[in-house]
Amino acid sequence: METAFHLLAAGVLVAAVAAMSLRHLVHCALCLVAVFAAAAGLFLTLGAEFLAFAQVLVYVGAISILIVFAMLLTRTRAVDMASLSVRPRVLGVTAAGAVAGFVIAAVLTSGALPEKAAAAPAVPVRDLGRELMTQQVPALLAVGLLLTAALLGAVVLALREPPAAPSGKEPRA
């Protein structure tokens, strides 16, 4: 378990750095897949099997494919050669480092975290489903509506617009 955690954590962080810093877009997408897969492994070490598989299905399967398709559809030049100039990049990395450092310091010095807490027993899928279908029904319905609306909206947004009518009017932007 220890070894698995260390390997997966290192894999997540290295792949994340690569995904955010490589120049070639397709390499970034591949590293993103590695991040999501290793994160699913971390979920497994926490005893959340169902979520690990959901993560593989949704992130590794669907979202990565979506990102790759978007990259292919918006292909101007594959290599992001002209990056941001130095100053904003330094600012951005400094801000992100400050956020991460602050959170880590808070985690390490906080007395509010349970000390040496024994792991709760892993939640079986049956309990998860029962919780969803009894306590969380309104939220579940809302998420269903949200997904429907979002997917319809995505289709409408990405539809190719018909050629502008020759009426002299400005084409809708």
Binding site: V12, L13, A16, A19, M20, S21, L25, C28, L32, V35, A39, L42, F43, L46, A48, L51, A54, Q55, V58, Y59, I63, L66, I67, F69, M71, T74, T76, D80, L84, G92, V93, A95, A96, V99, A100, V103, I104, V107, L108, L113, P114, K116, A117, P121, A122, V123, D127, L128, E131, L132, Q136, V143, L147, A150, L151, A154, V155, L157, E161, A173
Partner: protein
């Protein structure tokens, strides 16, 4: 270092990496990918607290993560559709060229 702290630190580092990417990359798709990394870090936090943060409601953390995954999927679909629509309009996905609304 307790097991909970280890997971929280990994999640904080992952969140920082995603934030750095979202703040510094010019390509809109990679900014969206950075946001996905941040969401994954948050999910890791929620599951870790569900496992090690006391036994009051053991399934709550995982249920929360399920909803976060669903909302993140919707967000990515709409975001990428917006990027594609904008690309049709301007032939670019570089964020610093998105200045149509500048006064």
């Amino acid at each position: 270092m307790s097991p909970l702290e280890r997971y929280l630190i990994v999640a904080a580092l992952l969140f920082g990496i995603g934030l750095a990417g979202a703040l510094t990359r010019r390509n809109a798709i990679l900014v969206l990918a950075g946001i996905e990394l941040m969401l994954t870090a948050v999910n890791l936090n929620l599951i870790a607290f569900g496992r090690y943060g006391g036994h009051a409601a053991p399934a709550a953390g995982q249920v929360f993560v399920l909803f976060v995954i669903a909302v993140a999927a919707a967000e990515t679909a709409v975001g990428l559709a917006l990027i594609i629509a904008w690309f049709r309009h301007r032939r670019t996905v570089q964020l610093d060229e998105a200045d149509e609304l500048r006064g």
